[in-house]
């Protein structure tokens, strides 16, 4: 494998002279209870080789049977991607030898995918909507997992032998393939990331997968090619495999654009090949392509009969589709009365669910937004975590706002309560009690503090008595200070005026 260092062309420079075209293949592991072709439990994190059966081990004489729920999930995905659902389709064998594929072929779909000709509208951070055409979505099975032993880095290079765990072998996958994505120009990396993110959100909304990137539930292969102008024929593409975070998808596209521009500038030709993504360096390297690597000798799977989804069943699945993320965003924006820019910030901050739950806990939408997009967003940024990872729940924010609404705490105290909840001191009510943060609503202590303040500043007291209300703020300030901010300033003002006029 080559680690040759290429001088990259500056991204803006590359974009000024080349038109990038991208294509993305997304694999999603379906959240079924069992595998695609056998009844082995499809879990996560079990002991190695404890979720295997003769079928998922590819033992002679074992016969696959299709998981009907997996087919339903695939149709659900196809419909949500605005695809046509095949009248009839088949599985095919994709033949290759690799230790994580115990049968020596992967059961996949080849020329007859279950869903085809769709599209998905992707919203970029600034609100621009970009339509990505979907060529197909097909069903297949996952491979096992190899662990390379020996060698210095745990990578295959230099490994002495490998260990194989087949728990993942046979987990249902749906692979979604785009048509070439053109017209994105300099925003191609951003479109790529937003597309994968949109699909992830869709999988979750459809409840077909937990779609956790960090567990590899969703994996992306990113194709990139360059051409001199948008009118030119498509250039030679590379395929960067297994890019498994949103940020990496964006970085991988960006890197390939800069790298390919450098190759073309030097008078070279881009080699059509598989490339590997290196998270640590943000670069790709060539995966050595074997001459027969692409010769998979697909043929129809003789052990499985065709799938012909009944039209009534397809329509039933369509009718039962949940509200999809884009429609939900529009509905919530209307219900909450947020401006476009406000809603976009909420979406980009990943705060929709949090605000929705906070509103459900009784807070007004504006108040919910104020907390999550204000204090909490700042805290999350300081701690370098996602909003949802903060140790505070929407229910607690709802309770906090309820205390404000009831007049038991003011905004300033509420921030201290928030601090206490984030510090693990319990629910807002507990923090209020433990820290003694309640607004002093009993006039007695307030009057004492007012009298003390007036006595301490007799000249100011005199001015107020003579009708000059200008310096009243100084007295209010002194009272607020004496009560550690726990007084209602409006009430203090009323009491001061009563006091001097009596």
């Amino acid at each position: 494998m080559s680690h040759a260092v290429v001088d990259l062309v500056d991204y803006d420079d590359a974009i000024a002279r080349f038109d990038p075209v991208i294509g993305i293949e997304v694999h999603v592991e379906l959240g079924t209870r069992t595998k695609m072709f056998d009844a082995a439990p499809a879990g996560f994190g079990e002991e190695p080789n404890t979720s295997v059966t003769p079928v998922s081990l590819g033992l002679p004489g074992s016969l696959p049977v299709v998981n009907g729920t997996a087919v339903e999930y695939a149709i659900r995905i196809g419909l949500a991607l605005n695809c046509s659902i095949a009248q009839t389709c088949r599985f095919a064998r994709k033949n290759y030898f690799y230790p994580d594929v115990p049968k020596n072929f992967q059961t996949s779909q080849y020329d007859e995918p279950i869903a085809y000709d769709g599209h998905v509208d992707v919203e970029l951070e600034d609100g621009t909507v970009f339509r990505v055409e979907v060529e197909r979505a097909h069903m297949e099975e996952d491979a096992g997992k190899n662990t390379h032993v020996g060698g210095s880095t745990g990578r295959i290079h230099g490994a002495e032998y490998s260990l194989v765990d087949y728990n993942r072998a046979g987990i249902p996958l749906v692979e979604i393939v785009t048509r070439p994505i053109t017209g994105a120009g300099e925003r191609a990396p951003e479109v790529a990331r937003a597309y994968v993110q949109t699909l992830r959100d869709l999988f979750r909304a459809l409840e077909v997968s937990e779609a956790r990137m960090e567990r590899g539930n969703v994996r992306a292969d990113v194709n990139v090619s360059l051409r001199p102008t948008p009118q030119s024929p498509l250039g030679t593409r590379t395929e960067t495999k297994n890019v498994n975070s949103f940020r990496s998808v964006e970085r991988a596209v960006r890197h390939e654009i800069s790298r390919q521009a450098a190759v073309l500038d030097a008078g070279g030709a881009v080699v059509q090949e598989t490339r590997h993504w290196h998270e640590d360096t943000g670069t790709t390297t060539s995966g050595r392509v074997k001459s027969d690597a692409e010769d998979y000798r697909y043929f129809p799977e003789p052990d499985l009969v065709p799938i012909a989804p009944d039209r009534a069943w397809v329509e039933e699945i369509r009718a039962a589709l949940p509200e999809l993320p884009a429609a939900r965003r529009r509905r919530l924006q209307g219900e909450w009365g947020f401006a476009d820019a406000e809603m976009r910030d909420v979406v980009n901050a990943g705060a929709i669910e949090l605000i929705e739950a906070t509103v459900a806990a009784g807070a007004a939408p504006a108040a919910a937004r104020k907390w999550w997009m204000g204090e909490l967003a700042r805290t999350a940024k300081e701690r370098e975590v996602e909003l949802a990872e903060l140790p505070i729940t929407p229910t607690q924010i709802g309770a906090l706002q309820a205390l404000v609404d009831a007049g038991r705490i003011n905004d300033k105290l509420a921030r201290q309560v928030l601090e206490g909840v984030l510090a693990g001191e319990g629910d807002p009510e507990q923090v209020v009690v433990a820290r003694g943060l309640e607004v002093v609503s009993d006039d007695g202590p307030l009057l004492e503090a007012i009298d003390a303040a007036l006595a301490a500043q007799p000249d100011i007291a005199e001015k107020i008595r003579s009708g000059n209300l200008g310096p009243v703020g100084a007295i209010i300030g002194a009272v607020m200070k004496a009560t550690r901010g726990q007084a209602d300033a409006g009430r203090v003002r009323e009491l001061v005026l009563e006091r001097v006029s009596s």
């Binding site: 069992t34 002991e47 295997v52 690799y98 032998y161 995966g287 000798r297």
Partner: protein, 99 residues
Amino acid sequence: MSTLSRDEVARVAGLARIDLTPAELDRLAGELDVIVESVARVSEIATPDVPATSHPLPLTNVFRADVPEPPVDRDAVLAAAPAAQDGKFLVPQILGEDA
């Protein structure tokens, strides 16, 4: 008319990881040719209005309910493997296919 060249047979053998001697290649090129030609006669009967068939049974939509069944015992499985370690199958060094 020969449709299968000796080189083609060698390539297919390579894909299938079958190590053939030159003598075997010569013999199999001829034998496979006969098989391919015999099968090709199907296309004389199967006119374009005959749909391609991948399965002899006129069945579709044979589905299984998504209900787990007990997996097989790992120790029994690994006992049948040439080598195992840490509950996993141990396979020889994988050469140069991936990185």
